[in-house]
């Protein structure tokens, strides 16, 4: 059992979800309410990771993050370490790759809020941020929770991208999914089976707990 890999995976999942919460809310809300022309292009861009195979996406990220790219060079100059094959690079890739899973359910949730309700709140003189906090977020909460669960599940299981931009470095980019692959290649079937079981039970438990919590929230709202 590779505890370092499990911890790394949980860390990656936790930070990805934490970063995606504000990004998803901002982007999802913008896509739901904005009248901007060319909004569809932004929507298509966000949905791109759904369509592209992880290896293709991973390849593009590898090129975009690499030591020869402007982003890679700027990062190296700023932090004195490369962006590819590091935890930070993996986290950035993970946030980008999870965008559609986080943004789309949130966008649908914001769209489902009756326009009258928002108009009434504005009419009553509520400041926009108070409308967001008191009206929109509570109503959109089930969609936001779904988005976070999807991002969680997807990050925990992601393999292709992690392999492409991560390089399977222990304690840095070797997630539990990669560790299982590695154990199979080492003919260590027992460890592979163990880790697969832990991953399965953990995922199942987390998702069950989240769905349970979201039902309770739903009941209180109703």
């Amino acid at each position: 059992m590779d505890w370092v890999a499990l911890r790394l995976s949980l860390e990656l999942v936790g930070l990805t979800v934490l970063l995606l919460l504000p990004i998803g809310v901002a982007l999802g809300r913008f896509l739901a309410y904005s009248e901007m022309r060319g909004k569809e292009i932004l929507e298509a861009l966000v949905a791109l990771p759904l369509v592209l195979p992880p290896t293709v996406f991973g390849y593009y990220l590898l090129v975009a993050f690499g030591a020869a790219s402007p982003l890679g060079r700027a990062w190296q100059a700023l932090f004195d370490r490369p962006l590819v094959f590091t935890f930070e690079g993996l986290l950035l890739a993970s946030v980008i790759f999870n965008l559609p899973f986080a943004v789309q359910p949130m966008q649908r949730a914001f769209e489902a809020i009756a326009p009258d309700l928002r108009a009434a709140a504005a009419c009553c003189g509520m400041a926009p941020w108070r409308v967001l906090l008191r009206i929109e977020l509570p109503l959109a909460w089930p969609g936001i929770l779904t988005a976070l669960v999807l991002a969680f599940a997807h990050t925990l299981g992601e393999f292709g991208i992690v392999l492409m931009v991560g390089g399977a470095i222990p304690g840095e980019t070797k997630t539990i999914a990669i560790a299982i692959y590695d154990r199979v290649q080492a003919f260590d079937d027992r460890a592979a089976a163990q880790m697969a079981t832990v991953l399965l039970l953990f995922s199942l438990a987390t998702i069950a707990v989240t769905f349970f919590a979201s039902r309770r929230v739903g009941r209180r709202l109703g």
Partner: protein
């Protein structure tokens, strides 16, 4: 404050607490130098690293894969301190382009074997005469080699199959491992009749339990001259491990895993 607000706040608090525990633990193992090693070293090098830890009291982190992939990753800035390639060409190219300290040193010469899993209809015949017959008489359904594009053992397997004149015939039956360890896993998984893999892997207890192996004549392919090199970021522990790999305890392990050592005659 609403019930939902309280729940959100409580949930976020729990996530933050869990994260701080995680982050504190992850920092511990992050300092040991990273060693990128060809997949044929998987068992031998793990043993050497364990001895190194006992003898010298320092740890290294091992990453196994195909040499070609590592060479590409190093060019893209992967933070490895030491690179043990299965093919010296990758090391010499990196040295020429300024990614390494020097040209490194030859540490072993690898050998190929035909791996035949228990219960396979294939004969344990290192001259590959029976393999050639099996391709024609329908006994062969799947045969595993490492990817010739970026795995040195795969490239040599292709050379051997070409030398025997069966490359074109066997191609439809080939499954390609991403590196030679995966090729060995494919070969012994029960889904293939055999494969061409590294001698060093076939000699591991894990693989010996799964099937037999027969050496393939070394003259049939260009030698697997395995060279290692320190990369630009190598520190004192990586230096020490680099030296340790050339000392007798490490050489004894390499020998036991079937490697021919530089300056020593082949045993067979």
């Amino acid at each position: 404050m609403t019930a939902i607000g309280r729940m959100v706040r409580r949930g976020l608090g729990a996530i933050a607490a869990a994260l701080s525990v995680l982050l504190a633990g992850a920092a511990a193992a992050a300092d040991a130098p990273l060693v990128a090693a060809a997949a044929d070293l998987r068992f031998a090098l793990a043993e050497i690293a364990e001895r190194f830890r006992r003898d010298v009291g320092a740890a290294v982190r091992l990453v196994f894969g195909s040499s070609g992939n590592f060479a590409r990753q190093i060019r893209q800035g992967a933070p490895f301190a030491l690179f043990l390639s299965a093919d010296e060409a990758y090391v010499l190219d990196l040295a020429r382009d300024g990614f390494t300290r020097d040209e490194g040193t030859l540490y072993a010469i690898g050998r190929l074997v035909l791996m035949v899993p228990n219960g396979s209809p294939l004969a344990l015949d290192g001259t590959l005469a029976d393999l050639a017959r099996a391709v024609r008489d329908g006994r062969l359904r799947r045969f595993a080699i490492a990817n010739p594009e970026h795995a040195p053992y795969g490239k040599r397997a292709e050379e051997v199959l070409r030398y025997k004149g069966i490359w074109e015939e066997i191609r439809p039956f080939l499954v390609y491992g991403e590196n030679v360890a995966q090729a060995a896993q494919f070969a012994t998984s029960g889904n293939a009749e055999g494969g061409i893999v590294a001698y060093s892997l076939a000699l591991s207890p894990q693989l010996e339990a799964l099937g037999g192996h027969a050496p393939i004549p070394a003259e049939w392919h260009t030698p697997l001259r395995q060279r290692m090199v320190r990369l630009r970021g190598a520190g004192p522990v990586a230096d020490r491990f680099y030296r340790y790999l050339q000392e007798e305890p490490a050489r004894a392990v390499f020998r036991r895993y079937g490697f021919v050592l530089p300056g020593e005659p082949a045993t067979e």
